[in-house]
Symmetry: C2
Subunit: 236 residues, 2 copies
């Protein structure tokens, strides 16, 4: 019917692409990478193996050569994406701050780290949310991941500072959750759901929250002035 253009822009009926034949490892990595992007956008059941293969420019048969089932691919992702990049440097930095007992900077740095993580690795955090909702909990759930090393690190510092009299002697788990939650909420709203939060950069937000949070953690009874320490009478 249609007369083909005299000067085809690229190539008229040439084989679709010179089909780059990747090594098994490279193709596997590529599949994982595109799978992360798609699963994080649409969830497990909202993502088609066809789309993942297409994103890599290969057929589905290739995908199933690398992963026996769709579930396998999903679990491979959750396993793989284990340690977030740059976590070691962050821990080192945090430890230095902890050593000099710079509480405000400690909190600010932690918040900035959370915000940066959501900003730069949004797909990962979406994936964790989906995994949590869909019940593929397994590895991750930021929160639970955080539990292992990061949460313990934060909790230890809080307990230490409580012993030193710098933080209130409330439930340390409550204090840690208090510290992390504004950043988690801010980051989720802004990066996962794309809502408008209050303006300004992430670092400004971290600074603002840190300033507020440090006040929440300080013991509330400076002996001399402000609130007298022994208020044994307290009415409901």
């Amino acid at each position: 019917m249609n007369t083909p253009p005299a000067v085809p822009l690229l190539s008229p009926l040439a084989p679709p692409a010179p089909r780059a034949r990747l090594s098994s490892d490279d193709r596997r990595r590529q599949l994982l990478s595109h799978a992360i992007a798609l699963f994080s956008k649409h969830g497990f059941s909202g993502t088609r193996t066809k789309d993942i293969a297409a994103a890599c420019g290969v057929s589905e048969a290739i995908l199933y050569r690398h992963f026996a089932t769709k579930e396998d691919l999903y679990h491979a992702i959750l396993d793989t994406h284990e340690a977030a990049a740059g976590k070691d440097e962050w821990l080192t930095e945090m430890r230095a701050i902890a050593d000099r007992r710079d509480d405000l900077e400690f909190i600010r740095c932690m918040l900035a780290h959370i915000l940066k993580s959501f900003r730069e690795d949004t797909a990962f955090h979406r994936l964790m949310l989906y995994a949590g909702l869909e019940g593929h909990s397994l590895p991750g759930l930021f929160h639970e991941r955080m539990s292992s090393s990061t949460f313990e690190f934060l909790r230890n510092y809080v307990v230490l500072r409580q012993r030193e009299g710098a933080f209130r002697k409330d439930n340390p788990d409550a204090l840690v959750m208090l510290l992390a939650s504004p950043a988690l909420q801010y980051a989720t709203s802004k990066y996962i759901f794309g809502l408008k939060v209050f303006p300004g950069t992430d670092n400004e937000a971290a600074e603002e929250f840190a300033k507020l949070l440090i006040a929440a953690l300080r013991p509330n009874l400076p002996v001399s002035k402000t609130i007298s320490k022994k208020t044994s009478k307290r009415k409901a």
Copy 2:
């Protein structure tokens, strides 16, 4: 092959059930109700129209008599579940507390309300999370819903108390997010993801967080002792 049991336990080959024939409205409500339960568990693409129909004990054809498409059903849910139950009473209670400027009780009551909402209406909050992730944002997204009336209410109180010198004069949006985020985080971890948070009842958690948050909101330089009402001098 098998000889049928001489005394069938219930009824051997009787019509499966006396099929309760509901009115159109009742059936529609029932469909919505079970759809909420299933969509909230598995998300939009993880839920089969067949399962929704089966949960109501009817065929899929019935579902499609009430809703033209699966999408229609989903949107009907998100539209329907508009105003959370008991919100009016809550607002009334909050206004009374606001009138007597009981900041601590104001915060505690707000937190308790959030926790109660997640505890008693977990499916709804799961649904909102799924809707946000899957991009069916439309109505809801707790956060956004909250925006409209509830968020405005909280923000107004914060601004009022800032003017009266009882709260720090920081960005009121940051203050509101700070106030709400621990409860949102706690409730999401506990009720949506089923993680263990620190022990104790929700009300105890609300009290604990409120105690900490109130400290974060107070202006940080009490002139004489406690908070004098007219603090015109305030250094950064």
